[in-house]
Structure formats: C-alpha cells, structure tokens
Assembly symmetry: none
DNA sequence: TGCTAAACGAGACGGTACGTCATGTCTTTTA
DNA sequence: TAAAAGACATGACGTACCGTCTCGTTTAGCA
C-alpha cells in the first residue's frame, strides 16, 4: 500500500521539501504548485506524487524536516520557578516568530491545510504539535506543583487559554500581534477575568 | 473605483451568493470554482468577475447576505445579570453552530480566505466580526459595571480569552469541541489559572 | 454534438493547421505533439482539443487546407489524346512530389494515420482522395472512348494498377522511386504482363 | 558494438516478442508501450532496451519469430503451370490473411513503422519481404519460360503490379478487399489495360 | 564445483506529453 | 443594452510512458 520506502532517494526528498518551503515564502500558498516545487527542486513531478498524497502533505513534511533539523531531543519550556516570567518569555518569542517574514507564509499555509484536511490535522496534532503541547503541559504541571497554578485546572484548557488567543489573533489578523499583547494575555489568563479579593 | 452599482441585477447577485454558499457545503472549499458558482447560479462568469475581485470576496459577501437575512438590528448577547450563565449559553450555541454540517465547510472556507488575504481580513474585522465583537465587549462592560469582571481587564483581551480557545480548537481540530469544553473555558477564563485564596 | 462552429476563430484555425504541417516537416510525425502544435501556433491546447478529436484529424485538415488553397475548381488530369503520354507526365510529377522533402514527412504522417484509423480513412477517401480519383477515372474513361483502353476494364482497378505500385514503393521504400520506374509502371500496366501477339 | 548475445535469455526474448504481438491485437499500435510489453512478458524494461533499439524493432522481430515458426525452408509459390490460376490462388489467400483480425492490427503496426523508419524498412526489405519477393519473382520467371509472361517485362515491376494494388487497398482502406477484387487484379495485370487485338 | 561477471526483475528517477479543468479576458448572441 | 453563453490564451492538474539508472538476485561460463 505505502510505497516501498527502501529505494527512496533521500536527496530528492530533501530538495522537494526545501523547495516547497522556499516557494511558500516567495510566492505564497495560493500560487504554490506541485509543478513549481518539482521545477525548483529539479525533480520529476511523479517523484512528488509517488511519495506524497497531497500538496498539504508536502508542506507538512517540510515543517517536519525543519523541526527535525532544529531540535536535539524533545522540546522543553524554560522553568525558572516563576511561571509568569517563563510564559511571558516564551510567548514573546512565539509572537516574534509569527511576525518573522521567513515563517509567516509557510505557517499560514500549514494552518490552512490543517483547517481544511482532517487527516492532516491528525498528523499535525500527533507529530508536530504533540511534543510541543506536551512540553507546555509539563511546564504547567510543574507550576501546579509549585503552587502557582490551581490544582483543579484542566491543563489542556490552560494551554488553550494561553496560546489560543495568540494564535487566533495571528491567523485572523484581528489585531496587532505585539509583545505587549502577549504580556497581557499571560497576566489575564493567570488572574482570570473575575475580580480578585486581594490584589495580584 | 467601485463599479456603478446602479444597474446591478439584484436577482443575479443573490443567486451567485446563494450558489457559492451551497457549493461550499456540497463540494468543499478546495473544489469551489468560479465556473461552478456561475453554472449553479445560472449566470455568466463575467457577471461574477464584474462585481467581485476574488473568490474570497464572493464567499465573504455570501456570509454578509446570510447575516443580513438573519438579523434585525445589531446583534446583542443575552444579559441575565449573571455573566457566567450568559457566556456558557452563548458558547454552547457557538459550539453547536461550528459542529453543524451546514455551516462547517463554509465557515472553514471563510476562515481560510481571511488567514491568507489581509484585505479580506480587514473587511471581515469591520463588517462581519465587528458588530459581534462589539456586542461581546458590551456584555463584558455590563459585567464590569455589575462587579463581575475586574476593572482593569482589557476587554479585547477578555474576548480573545473566551472565544479564542473555542475558535482555535475548531479550526485546528486540536481536540473534541463539546459543550463541556465550552463550559470549562468559561469557568477557567473567569477564575484564571492561579489558585484563588477563597473558593470560586 | 459537434461544437457550434459559429464562434470559431478562423485565425487560430489556420495557425494551428499551418503549424501542424510545418512541424511535420521539421520534427517528423513521431515527435509531433499537440503541445508543440499549440505552442508553434500561439494557441491554447484546449483550442485544438475543442475542434479536433485527434492528432490525425488535425493533420487531415492541414492537408485539406492545403488542397483548398492550391486548387481552383475540381482537379483534372491532362488529356492530350494520348493516354500513355499523359499518364507518364502525371506519374513523373507524382514521383517528384513524393521525393520533395517539403511533403514527404507530412504525407507519410497522413498515410500512417489513415492506415490506423478507419474513420479518418473514410474522411480521406471522401474529401481528399475522392475528387482526385474521380479525375483519374475520368481520364481513363476518355481513353476508353478513344479506343486506348479496353472496354471491359474496371476503371477502379485500372487506377489501382497504375498508382498503386508507385504509392506502395514510396510508402514501403521497397525500391528507388524514379521517373524511370514511373515510366515502366505505365507501359507495363497498359500492355499487361502477358505476351502480346503483335508489337506494342 | 552489438551486445554479447551469448548470455541472452531465450525465454525472455520469446516472451517479449509474443507479448508485443499479442498486445498489438489487443490494444492496437497507438496504445502499445514498452512498459506494457515488459509487464505482459513478465520482464524488466531494461531487458527490452538492452536488446532492441526501438519499439519498431521489437515488432519487426515479433514478425520474424512468427515467420520462422511458420516456415520450413524458403517460401515458394505454387506452380501448376498456369500462372493465372496460381496467382489467383495466392492472392485470395493473401486477401484472407489481411482480413484476419488476428493479423490485421499487427500488420498495420509493422507497415506504419516501416513507412516512418527507413532503417527498419531496409531490414524489412532484406529479412522479411526479401525471401517472399524472391519466390514471387521465381514464379514469374518460370511463367516467362513457359511463355505465359512477356520476355521484356521487368519482374520487379510485375510483382508490384500484382501485389501493389492489394496492399494499397488494404492499407488505405480505399475499397472492399475481396476475393473478387483479387481476381480482377490478376486478370487486369495479365491482360493490361490496352485493348487486345485478339481475345484473351 | 565454486567464483565472478552478466543478464535479469523490479522499479525509482528526471523528463515530456497527455487530455482535462479552471482562470480571467474577450466577443458574440439573445432577450 | 445588459447579461448569458462561451471561445480564447494560459497554466496547473494528475497520469502514462519514455529511456536511464541503480538495486538485489539468478544464472551461466570459466577456472
């Protein structure tokens, strides 16, 4: 069913994924074509069709290649002991990456494909977002142990509460995505919307 | 700039927007074509190109038509005096709509177009999301007055905190989108992540 | 069924047929492609596929255009009163044309398509070969009246007897195709293979 | 230059040629592909490319195999002493073979390749048509000795005169190819087109 | 009888062309 | 006289084959 992967040409594979990522930056998702990727990679179209079921799958693998290249070992969030500080740091970095023109178009492309293709979404959840989300959960668990996070908070909801607004504002462009916004999100999420009996 | 709208055939306009919306349900965003819309609407292609600059603009207007049809006057959120109750109600309804097969594909299409096209995003922010967001802010302001919301909370951030996680989970399919999740989001957002000195 | 021919672009039609004919000379039948024709004609591929069902049909029409351009009125064979002289003249001309590099490749292409596609063969028999064969029969009939051709000879067989060997030798390259051969064919066909009681 | 033929796998060779011939019957010349032949023969593509320079060469060899299988010794035409009788017999058989669906497509394919490829035409003239044509010439020479054929007739032209019309009508489908037609060709070729002083 | 070089099946590869579909522009016809 | 109908140049789609190129695996000839 799956093509025999043994004879696969690794050089071509990397050329394709790199070409796809580069083209996303250059021409954007709307004008990304399989023909274009093949041409830029110096590869026959069939070589793409042989190994990937869809354009989205290529984009997905391009990110996978990138993340493999970047990391050594599973990702972790900084843990200085103070949750607010750490989250602020991380979210500011996230915001910066989202505003980086090198990544913006490719990331939008990936988000789009995931939004439209459930199968790809599952792969994303497992292979790309999975480890990262686990790291986030881990950091929050540590905060729980340190008494900085309520015992009864659902960690997945907590993650969504912190990163969701950021991702959303980026994707929908519903407002400027700045470090200040990131800071506000952190503090608001931690304190909650309700008035607190005693000051922060 | 804008084509003279005077001679515009209103019947064709509605036929086109309805056809676009219906096709989104039937064939999905990926297979939606201008030719298809024109054919289903019984309209010449040129009539579409004359009045809309892009496929995204057609989809956008289709939603606009829908929202005009639905509402009388600007939208409002229920205000029973208890914020938690009202938010829970509204978010459950939102979740239900997002799971409604009639709307899912079209809404994903719109979200996709907005994510990729800044101009469309601006139009969305102003014409479709604008009034709704104002209603949300209004409800939160009322809660502030009632002492159910901290005075120093940025209302836009608050809105993002409540609706962001929902939208996100829906768009990225990062988990099941249920009424329970909606309830959890409301209570977590209101209480915040930090431990509270005294019970809820 | 047949596409409405009313809106057809005559300029494109001629460009396509001319390009096809020229390409046959330049690259030969084996390397003739629809894409190549479209490119050389400055035309979209679809314009070819819209109006012709096959590559053979394009080639056929290219010859049709040529023959229309060439002739005024239906073709006739010379009639000096002496059949042998006239046939010799005509066959020499035919041989010359077959050896003309401008026509050789295109004519081989047409012959090939006809040999493989019965429908095309029927069209050829009717529209291209038909009038010519009629002219040949006419000349032979005239010879019959002049007592230069036996009364009981089937004129179609006679035509085949004279032109068949030429066509055959050309197509199969079974020997050199020269004026001398043409002359021999004429005299042999007229005299027959059997010994004659009295001189020629 | 020529690959060492020593290690050649005879089983594969026969499988390839048989597969090629069978495929010609089944799918026709236009859809005959090297890949198809290799697949049907259960053979790697390279094995075909190693031993044959072109598709036409494979088809040619397929016929060669067939003719080797059929015959014992060089072919001969029947010689009852009466040329007309013998030719009629032979031509009727030829006509029958040409109308046989088992051979029609393959023979058209061979004719096509020969018409387009001079090298193949030379091979055909020498290896396939050569012995047969020699047999035809032989029979005519015998007729000459018996006084049934004029002394001054060029035997090659005579062969063309008899078989050319048949082959032509078959290849171009310029008319029905029947036994009657064959008979007419024989008698017309023998008698010639000119009126004879005294009856046949 | 065991070694080695080739021919073999399989099939991935960079390509070309296929025939189809949609794009956005244009012209023609119709109501 | 606007809009439907649809032809047009363009260009991408996904597929089929081309001819070349490894891969391991027979298989045959020599040593």
């Amino acid at each position: 069913m799956t093509p025999n992967t043994a004879r696969r040409n690794e050089t071509s594979r990397r050329a394709i994924l790199t070409a796809a990522f580069d083209l996303l930056q250059d021409v954007g998702y709307a004008k990304l074509s399989i023909e274009g990727i093949a041409a830029r990679a110096g590869v026959g179209k069939q070589t793409i069709y042989r190994w990937w079921p869809s354009k989205g799958a290529v984009i997905f693998d391009a990110f996978l290649l990138l993340s493999e290249a970047a990391e050594g070992g599973p990702p972790t969030l900084p843990d200085t002991g103070d949750l607010a500080t750490d989250l602020t740091l991380v979210l500011r970095a996230t915001v910066e990456e989202m505003n980086d023109p090198r990544y913006e178009q490719p990331m939008r492309a990936l988000a789009t494909e995931i939004a439209l293709d459930p199968e790809l979404a599952a792969a994303y959840a497992q292979r790309l977002d999975g480890p990262l989300r686990e790291a986030k959960r881990q950091r929050l668990r540590s905060a729980q142990r340190a008494g900085q996070l309520a015992e009864d908070v659902d960690l997945d909801v907590a993650v969504d509460m912190i990163w969701g607004p950021i991702l959303n504002r980026w994707l929908h462009r519903s407002g400027p995505l700045t470090a200040e916004y990131a800071d506000l999100v952190v503090s608001t999420a931690l304190n909650g919307l309700r008035p607190r009996r005693s000051g922060e």
